[in-house]
């Protein structure tokens, strides 16, 4: 069979051809929206036209078989129209109210989970992990699955003071805005990497490797035509491994995860914030990471019972103070929570006004 003629630099297809007629007609002329249930909302246009959205969870990794099933549903109730969200949920775009209850019934019967809209927990932004990345210190998809099974009621029905955004990064590269989430899990290495001197010679460029280390822990080892690493300076970022695979940082018994909290992306009320370290280390426990899941659930529950309406996790903590957050959650405060890297001067307290 002849191969079709390749074309270059054509860019993506134009989005407009994929929109349902109701969007095409009311494009840019939406008036307001209402969240009907955690899985459904309605957008109303200035013309009075309405568009119902039904949002369902996705594991992000999708087989073509499942994508085809999603297509079947969209064809049955939405004229074939659907979209995905930035957090990898699927949204069915329903133009006719008559189809709203039937599509919900159909989705439920097929086992799709509706939810994620409004003040609860939506899908988790995460990275590739053992499924597909060379750098991973854990498996992001496995942690996400375990965590969302436990927190599922906050996706489907139960409400919180505001949105709560979760993220998982499978190494400190943190592909995916993990660093600005309400609660994020970051996989960490905890041991100085080991250099394979023989392979180093052939595979790595000395200046690049030395230059890659943010703490200048790496120096030349001329005798071995390799490098040595100063254990007092190394903080296991893995940057050297990225530039030079023979510097091995993976260690199954020592790799684990840390938990950071209180970040946000939007500018509502307060400025966007980074997430901050509260739990420095939990061992990798596949397949279900029970302690990680318990820690996240605990923080969610303390937030749910203490924050004021509309307060994001980070805003609540800033109001009550970090010392109060550690007291309320009972999380042990450790040296790792004191920034002794780039930001010490900005993060130490410089007043005697704090809470007991």
């Amino acid at each position: 069979m002849a191969l079709p003629q390749r074309r270059t630099d054509i860019g993506p297809p134009h989005y407009r051809q994929f929109m349902p007629p109701v969007i095409d007609k009311n494009y840019g002329k939406w008036k307001y929206h209402e969240v009907l249930t955690p899985g459904t909302m309605v957008h109303v246009a200035e013309s009075g036209d309405k568009l119902w959205t039904v949002r369902v969870a996705s594991p992000r990794i999708l087989s073509t078989a499942t994508i085809r099933e999603i297509c079947d549903v969209a064809e049955k109730f939405c004229g074939g129209h659907l979209r995905f969200t930035t957090r990898n949920n699927v949204e069915f775009l329903v133009s006719d109210e008559k189809n709203l209850e039937p599509i919900k019934k159909d989705l439920a019967a097929r086992g799709f989970k509706m939810g994620g809209i409004g003040y609860g927990i939506t899908n988790v932004v995460h990275t590739q992990g053992w499924v597909h990345c060379h750098s991973a210190a854990t498996d992001a998809s496995g942690i996400v699955k375990s965590m969302m099974d436990e927190l599922f009621e906050y996706f489907e029905s139960k409400r919180l003071p505001n949105k709560l955004r979760l993220a998982v990064a499978c190494c400190v590269n943190m592909c995916g805005a993990v660093h600005c989430s309400d609660i994020a899990i970051v996989a960490v290495h905890t041991k100085v990497p080991v250099v394979d001197d023989e392979k180093f010679k052939n595979m790595c460029e000395l200046p690049t490797v030395i230059g890659s280390c943010p703490t200048r822990a790496i120096s030349p080892d001329p005798a071995k035509k390799s490098v040595k690493i100063n254990p007092d300076k190394c903080m296991y970022c893995g940057n050297c491994f990225t530039v030079c695979p023979p510097i091995s940082i993976k260690n199954p018994e020592r790799d684990g995860v840390a938990i950071v909290v209180g970040g946000k992306i939007n500018s509502l009320r307060s400025n966007p914030k980074f997430s901050k370290l509260v739990i420095p280390y939990i061992s990798n426990e596949p397949p279900r990471w029970p302690k990680v899941v318990a820690a996240v659930k605990h923080i969610v529950e303390v937030y749910a019972s203490h924050a004021r309406k509309h307060e994001r996790l980070g805003e609540w903590i800033e109001r009550i103070g970090w010392e109060r957050f550690f007291a309320l959650t009972g999380i042990e405060f450790t040296f790792q929570s004191i920034d002794d890297f780039t930001f010490m001067r900005d993060t130490m307290r410089t007043a005697s006004t704090f809470k007991w």
Partner: protein
Amino acid sequence: METAELQDKIFAFCEAAKGKKKLKEKDIIKGVSAEQNVPPDDVKKAMRAMIDVGRLMYSYGGGASSVEIPSEEYLREKGLIK
């Protein structure tokens, strides 16, 4: 300068850097343009034409992309060298 001649110069420029320095597109454009006294846009066009047929290729390593000479087997297979 004829395009074919310019392309040979570009190839020689990349060959000289092989194993020493990873060249970005701009390094080649600036370097060859200065060396041969040819406008940068001409160098860019000639280089792109080489990339389009596989005589040069984009590579990736050291965290950044570069332009390199493909392996000899590859060039031979494509009929780009004898």
